[in-house]
């Protein structure tokens, strides 16, 4: 029982990342009808926003401490980040909380990138076949990836969670299990709540604001909304930016869990596409549900007990599920009838 609970928890945080990316993909597909293969790259860009902020905050000056010496007899070098020198304790706080702080930096950046991407490239591909959309966004993903590689190098760059939450919580005790059986890092709990918050606010935005209502109307019948004198194109551009922000924030917050490198986007993209397909093309709740579901499934499949029965199942479970779903119920778990069904 405790092992199962642990696996569910382990699966949920990865699943939350899938869900966030898939949510953005679905938003873009539902509004603009575009298949965005560069969405993984946006996730990766978000992660590198955190890396950039971390780098800037950690610029340090070296001072020599004459009172202490190293075993070689030279004075000990003390590295203090510049922000700490400038702002004292507040600076130290900023360095410690660099990942959460990057959120503030990532939101405008990702929004900007999303809007530029849509206005500069994607808008010319509405009328082109899906194959062309896949190809051009695939090319864009390669370009973004290579730029990041040129800037930050090919190695993963670990980012630390704030010191307060860098430990682990023994959730098992709360639920009456033996201590030490269900141990879960605080940061992952935060990630789960953070994802829930983002997913909740996206849904609330679409469901409870007038703006969101118009967007939903545009998803249902774009032409009629246009005929009513609403500039639906502009709103869809904003939605694209929103999707980019969602992917970016998922990336920012994921950095303490997985050190970002330039191809993390591609790895997540393939899986997120599978998630979208399983959840149902164009269905937002489907994308979230399928993301969490597949994350948990993957986590269960990588249990040793399961692997001993079906070796290698952890590597292919997600794809296997996708194949079965596509063949049995092609519109996905919660897909609308008739979407992409032909």
């Amino acid at each position: 029982m405790d092992a199962i609970l642990l696996q569910i928890l382990n699966g949920l945080d990865k699943g939350a990342a899938y869900a966030l990316i898939a949510l953005g993909l679905t938003l873009i597909f539902g509004t603009l009808g575009v298949v965005n293969f560069a969405h993984g790259a946006l996730f990766m860009l978000g992660a590198f926003c955190a890396v950039a902020v971390g780098k800037v905050l950690n610029y340090d000056v070296v001072t020599l401490d004459p009172t202490q010496t190293t075993p070689w007899g030279t004075p000990v070098e003390i590295r203090t980040p510049i922000v700490q020198q400038w702002f004292g304790d507040f600076g130290a706080f900023m360095v410690d909380y660099s990942v959460p702080l990057s959120i503030l930096f990532a939101i405008p950046i990702m929004l900007l990138i999303g809007v530029i991407m849509e206005r500069g490239l994607i808008q010319f591909f509405y009328k082109r076949p899906h194959a062309d959309q896949i190809l051009v966004t695939f090319g864009l993903a390669i370009v973004i990836q290579e730029i990041i590689k040129a800037q930050f190098g090919a190695n993963p760059i670990p980012q630390a969670a704030p010191a307060v939450v860098s430990g682990s919580a023994d959730i098992g005790i709360l639920l009456g299990f033996d201590p030490g059986t269900v141990v879960y890092p605080y940061w992952r709990i935060i990630y789960l709540f953070f994802s829930a918050l983002i997913i909740g606010s996206v849904f609330a935005f679409l469901q409870f604001t007038t703006y969101g209502m118009v967007v939903r109307a545009g998803m249902a019948d774009r032409e009629t909304v246009g005929l009513l004198g609403i500039n639906i194109q502009q709103r869809f551009t904003v939605v694209f930016g929103l999707a980019a922000v969602v992917a970016g924030l998922a990336g920012v917050m994921y950095t303490p869990i997985l050190p970002p490198d330039y191809h993390m986007g591609m790895d997540f993209l393939v899986l997120s596409f599978v998630v979208v397909v399983v959840g149902g093309m164009g269905s937002l709740p489907g994308a979230v549900a399928a993301g969490l579901l597949l994350g948990v499934l993957q986590s269960f499949a990588s249990m040793n007990e399961v692997k001993s029965i079906l070796p290698g199942i952890d590597q292919i479970i997600i794809y296997l599920v996708a194949v079965v779903i596509l063949l049995v119920r092609p519109r996905g778990l919660m897909g609308r009838k008739g979407v992409m069904e032909s």
Partner: protein
């Protein structure tokens, strides 16, 4: 059956008209047949003479030429699926990998002779593509792309993990001194103390003989692809691309045709993979990764999907520039721009440096985007446009005439 029906229904007075149509048709068929003959002759001449033709470009060494041929074959095969039917498969590299593994196993177990290895590789890839195609082709459009991608990723992951006894995991499958090689032993080829070299009935497949093997296979593959393009089967596939619904309305079940095309293109990929193993008997799982599938898509698009020559051209261009650009460094750049004034040269080096050497993939990505955005027909369409510009003498009317635009690039 359908012909009989036509005869019964056609009134007698229509007879002369239909004969006339047939005459025109057969005349045009003769013309295309002659053009194809010229095409295949020129193609073979160029391929066989490429060691001399490409010498001025610094590409005339067998290793690179072989790669041109192998990826040419791969792209031709991919084009039969994507170019003719419009089904974008993102998992073709899996068949390439399967072909490679099968060929290396044939080298290990049977003989170092190339022929069985190639046949074995093609058959294995064909079998797998039949299986995968049967499942994937139940869906069209983006679903098909994702399904093929899913299968390719599955094969890649399995090759890395569970199938290690077959694929040798991360190290890659390679020859060892104590492989059984049953057939070689039976024919009395004694074991050597070093690793044996692949051969074709005693002719060692390293250096130029290896290239000529690949070149001949490439020419044969090209010929087959011409035949497929011109055959009724090819017309069917084009019909599927143009309007699959209408094909179904006329009572044609399109799936067998699609499956056949998928298997053929999978076998081409297997052929390319086994030739890869011939030139270097080592097969690794990274050949099956989806970036590798992306590469062949890129080659086909770059050259021109749906054209005969395009994919080979695209494969050649990409492999050539990969070879040239990825070997560039700051020093070579300096020497390239040395004819410019100092400041400008420095500027040009800074501008171009991120695009060469390690950053070659950046160039590739940019190129790819530019092609998809501005030249969806690929280089072949570009060549055609330029050709039209010259032959028309800047004739605007011709460029705008619908007849000139609807003619597919070939």
């Amino acid at each position: 059956m359908s012909k009989n029906l036509e005869k019964i229904r056609s009134p007698l007075d229509m007879e002369p008209l239909t004969i006339e149509v047939h005459d025109v048709e057969s005349a045009s068929r003769n013309r295309t047949a002659r053009n194809d003959l010229i095409l295949i002759c020129v193609f073979s001449a160029v391929v066989l003479a490429s060691p001399w033709l490409l010498a001025p470009f610094g590409a005339a060494y067998p290793d690179l030429l072989q790669r041109f041929c192998i990826f040419g074959i791969f792209a031709i095969g991919f084009n039969i699926m994507f170019g003719l039917t419009g089904y974008l498969s993102f998992g073709h590299a899996a068949f390439l990998g399967i072909g490679s593994y099968a060929a290396v196993w044939s080298f290990k177990l049977l003989t170092m002779n190339v022929l069985p290895a190639v046949i074995f590789g093609v058959l294995c890839a064909g079998l797998f593509s039949a299986l995968i195609g049967y499942v994937c082709l139940r869906r069209a459009g983006i679903y098909f792309s994702i399904l093929t991608l899913a299968f390719a990723q599955m094969s890649y992951n399995l090759a890395y993990s569970v199938l290690t006894p077959i694929t040798n995991g991360e190290t890659g499958l390679q020859l060892t001194l104590n492989d059984s090689r049953v057939l070689d032993a039976a024919f009395g080829i004694e074991r050597t103390s070093s690793l044996p070299v692949t051969n074709l009935f005693g002719m060692k497949m390293s250096g130029y003989p290896g290239f000529y093997l690949c070149a001949i296979v490439l020419i044969i593959s090209f010929y087959i692809s011409i035949r497929i393009f011109r055959s009724p089967f090819g017309m069917m596939l084009r019909g599927i691309k143009t309007n699959q619904n209408r094909m179904s309305y006329t009572g044609i079940n399109t799936r067998p045709y699609l499956l056949a095309a998928f298997v053929v293109s999978g076998m081409y990929a297997g052929l390319a993979g086994s030739l890869m193993a011939v030139t270097d008997p080592l097969a690794g799982a990274e050949r099956m990764q989806w970036t590798a599938s992306g590469e062949v898509v890129l080659m086909t698009i770059l050259g021109g999907a749906g054209t005969l020559l395009g994919p080979v051209l695209g494969a050649g261009v990409i492999k050539y520039f990969e070879n040239i650009f990825s070997s560039f460094n700051a020093q070579t750049l300096h020497s390239v721009f040395s004819f410019l004034p100092d400041g400008l040269a420095e500027f040009m080096v800074t501008i171009t440096h991120p695009f060469v050497g390690e950053g070659w993939h950046l160039t590739l990505g940019v190129l790819f985007m530019l092609i998809v955005i501005f030249l969806p027909g690929g280089l072949m369409e570009g060549a055609q446009r330029i050709g039209k510009l010259f032959s028309g003498g800047g004739g605007k009317s011709e460029a705008e005439s619908p007849a000139g635009q609807t003619k597919p690039a070939e």
